[in-house]
C-alpha cells in the first residue's frame, strides 16, 4: 500500500494495489475527499467539462409524465408527431420521478394535489427544473378566486420557466423549453439553490396519502 499525496491532513489517497488490505475499507467522507466534490475556485469557473455536461443535460431533458388537466393534452400534443419535442431529446416522458429531469406542471394544481406534486418534485434527483405550463400554474389562472386551487405552483416549489397560455400552444411550450435550455446551459436554474435537508414536508392533520 502506497499512500500518495495526503493533502492537508485529509484521508490518504490510495492507489489500489495488490495487498491494499483494509485501508480501502475504512470509511471516508466523499465531501472531504480532495478527489470528490467541487472545492473553491472549481465551483466558480465553469470548465470545458462543465460546459459539455450542461450541453448534454440540456439536450436530453427527460420530463416527468405528470399532466394534471387540459395543459396535459397540449403537452401530449407537443410530444406527438406534429409538434415533436423528441427532436429536442425529450421523447421519454418518465413515469417515475427518480428518472426525470424536468417537471412540467401542466394543469391546474389543487390543494389536494399539491401534496403529491411536491412529493414528486422532492423525489426527483438533482439537477431538476420546473416548468409551470399554463396560466393555472403561473398564477391560478381562470380559477383565481377558487377555494381549492393553489394560486400558482410557485407557492409550493421553485419554478424556472413560466409558459403562459390557456392552454399554451405547442409552439409556446417549445419556446418555453428553449428558454429552459438557455437556463440549463447557463446554470441559472433554481435547483442550484436547493439543499436537501431530508424529509421535512409539512404534514397536516388528516393528511391522506
Amino acid at each position: 500500500m502506497l499512500p500518495v499525496a495526503t493533502g492537508d491532513g485529509g484521508p490518504p489517497i490510495i492507489i489500489p494495489d495488490q495487498g491494499a488490505g483494509d485501508a480501502l475499507l475504512q470509511p471516508f467522507d466523499m465531501e472531504e475527499h480532495p478527489q470528490g466534490g467541487f472545492h473553491g475556485l472549481l465551483e466558480v469557473i465553469p470548465t470545458k467539462a462543465d460546459y459539455v455536461l450542461d450541453l448534454i443535460r440540456a439536450n436530453s431533458l427527460w420530463p416527468l409524465l405528470s399532466g394534471l388537466s387540459c395543459c396535459a393534452i397540449e403537452m401530449m400534443s407537443t410530444a406527438t408527431s406534429v409538434n415533436d419535442i423528441d427532436r429536442f431529446g425529450m421523447f421519454p416522458f418518465r413515469a417515475s420521478p427518480r428518472q426525470a429531469d424536468v417537471l412540467i406542471v401542466a394543469g391546474t394544481l389543487t390543494t389536494k394535489m399539491a401534496g403529491p406534486l411536491v412529493r414528486l418534485w422532492e423525489q426527483m434527483p438533482e439537477p431538476k427544473w420546473v416548468v409551470a405550463m399554463g396560466t393555472c400554474t403561473t398564477s391560478g389562472g381562470r380559477f383565481k378566486r377558487s377555494y381549492s386551487v393553489v394560486q400558482g405552483v410557485d407557492r409550493v416549489m421553485p419554478v424556472d420557466v413560466y409558459v403562459p397560455g390557456c392552454p399554451p400552444r405547442p409552439e409556446g411550450l417549445i419556446y418555453g423549453m428553449m428558454k429552459l435550455h438557455e437556463l440549463v446551459k447557463q446554470r441559472r436554474g433554481q435547483w442550484s439553490t436547493y439543499v436537501d435537508r431530508g424529509p421535512q414536508r409539512t404534514r397536516w392533520e388528516g393528511d391522506v396519502r
Partner: protein, 232 residues
C-alpha cells in the same frame, strides 16, 4: 345524399319550436302524476319539455320508487341529482331528473330538505350510480343521506370543514381573503422553511450575491404601501 333530404316546410316547422312534445303527451304524464302521487305533490309545473313537481324530503324515496317501478311511469334512468341552497335562512332542495321511454319529457323531482336537519333517505338502493351524486351533495352542501354506505367526502380532503356550495360560503374578490385561505399550510408562507434554499453545495456564484428574501409587508409610518391593487 338524396336520401337525407327532407322537405323545406317540415324542416322549418320542426326547427323553430323548442317544445319537444305536443301538449297531449305531456298531459298524459301530468294526469298520471296527479292520479298516482297527488298526496305527495306540492307543486306541479310544466314547461315545453319538462314536467316538474315538488315533494317533501321524507317522501323522496317512496316517490322515486313509484316512478321507477310503476309500469305507467317507467322512469328507468336517473339523469341527475343536484342540491340547491336557497339562502342562509331558507331550505335546501335536492333535485332529481329522470327519463323514461314512455314520457318524452324530462321529469324533475324537487325534494325539499330542511336546513337545520338536512337528511334525506338514500336512493342508492334504486340506482347504484346515485352513490357518487350523494357523496358530492354531502361534500358540497352537507346534506346527509340516511342509509348510504359510503357517505364521505369525494372532492375535498377528508379533513375539510366547510361545505362550499352553501350560500354562506362566500368566494371573495381575492382568494387570499377567503375564509378557506390558509387552511392548508401550503397557502401560509409563514410555515414554509425557506432556509433550505439559502446554502447549497456546487453553487456557481459567490455567496455575497445571495439576497435575503423580501421582508413581509410591514408598512412603516409615513410610508405608503407599494401594492395598491387592493385595500389591505
Amino acid at each position: 345524399m338524396e336520401h337525407v333530404r327532407r322537405s323545406r316546410t317540415a324542416a322549418h316547422a320542426l326547427g323553430r319550436r323548442r317544445a319537444l312534445t305536443t301538449p297531449v303527451a305531456a298531459g298524459a304524464l301530468v294526469r298520471l302524476l296527479t292520479e298516482h302521487l297527488s298526496a305527495d305533490l306540492r307543486d306541479l309545473w310544466t314547461d315545453a319539455d319538462t314536467v316538474e313537481f315538488t315533494i317533501d324530503g321524507a317522501r323522496a324515496l317512496d316517490v322515486l320508487t313509484t316512478l321507477r317501478d310503476d309500469d305507467d311511469f317507467a322512469f328507468f334512468m336517473l339523469a341527475d341529482a343536484a342540491a340547491v341552497d336557497y339562502g342562509p335562512n331558507e331550505h335546501f332542495e335536492v333535485v332529481y331528473h329522470l327519463f323514461s321511454w314512455k314520457h318524452p319529457a324530462w321529469l324533475r323531482v324537487r325534494a325539499r330538505v330542511d336546513r337545520a336537519e338536512p337528511r334525506l333517505p338514500t336512493i342508492t338502493g334504486l340506482w347504484e350510480g346515485a352513490m357518487f351524486h350523494e357523496r358530492e351533495m354531502y361534500d358540497m352542501m352537507g346534506i346527509v343521506f340516511d342509509g348510504n354506505r359510503d357517505l364521505r367526502r369525494i372532492y375535498m380532503s377528508p379533513d375539510y370543514r366547510s361545505f362550499p356550495h352553501r350560500k354562506d360560503f362566500v368566494l371573495p374578490d381575492d382568494a387570499a381573503d377567503s375564509a378557506a385561505a390558509g387552511v392548508n399550510p401550503l397557502e401560509r408562507p409563514e410555515t414554509w422553511d425557506l432556509t433550505r434554499f439559502r446554502d447549497a453545495p456546487g453553487v456557481t456564484f459567490a455567496a455575497s450575491e445571495l439576497r435575503e428574501d423580501a421582508p413581509a409587508e410591514a408598512v412603516e409610518d409615513g410610508e405608503t404601501l407599494a401594492d395598491q391593487s387592493r385595500p389591505r
